[in-house]
Symmetry: C2
Subunit: 159 residues, 2 copies
Amino acid sequence: MEIKSIQDYYPDDLSYCYGCGRLNEQGHQIKSFWDGEETISHYTPKPYHIAIPGFVYGGIIASLVDCHGTGTAALASYKAEGRQPGSEPPFRFVTASLQVDYLKPTPLNIELELRGKVIEIKARKVISEITVSANGEITARGRVVAVQMPEKMLLDNSK
Amino acid sequence: MEIKSIQDYYPDDLSYCYGCGRLNEQGHQIKSFWDGEETISHYTPKPYHIAIPGFVYGGIIASLVDCHGTGTAALASYKAEGRQPGSEPPFRFVTASLQVDYLKPTPLNIELELRGKVIEIKARKVISEITVSANGEITARGRVVAVQMPEKMLLDNSK
């Protein structure tokens, strides 16, 4: 049985995110899964996603942290309610605050691994810590404060 | 006389950044200038740079904050030394830490304005605060700790 990522369960009209929307053909389409008590995602930056030749651009790392953070928030929220992703109502988070510390240069041409840990979970807010690793070495650490998508965004979106 | 952006003065081999490198054809190519005591940059996200339809993706906003922060650091460093950009040696900063608070959804199809203020400037480190505005309204606030590019990156890069 193929295990779907959390992003594969986002409603179609909320699946155009440039970072993780499965329907955004120009986007990164990152996918987040449970791996034990942590969440995990993999992404290989494109050759032009560079800061200087040989090293990954920090804005791409921030994007990966961002979307793996909102994905982690959704995964954790289903789990907290004892529900399977895909059951109603869907969880879809947006980022309220993003922090990334770049510990060392991240080499290009390597599949990066993101790992997420839930630090705090409340009704509409989930805080997670995300690491980014290349070759088993952590190169960046992030913290994402994710909040359930405000209804205003959904209403505006439906216009 | 056309005023060049700080990114137009980055050395050629350090001008491939996906966010602001003038030689990265796939990148955002953002450009930062002085505007009085603040720095300024403008960027219009692409139609596919969305979080959900109608709103700009947070990872793009983080990328703009990141590169305008390093650009602001370089601008401020030349100014602190009483030198013109383009004089030797060049200043080229990378990001050590990036913080972005998303205050409200950022509408798409609008030219965004970034403004930077230098908060702290030391020999090799510059901290700046960056705002992102759409239609004159601030939608995100960022803080960038920029450090002069480590020689290790340059050495690795020259291999």
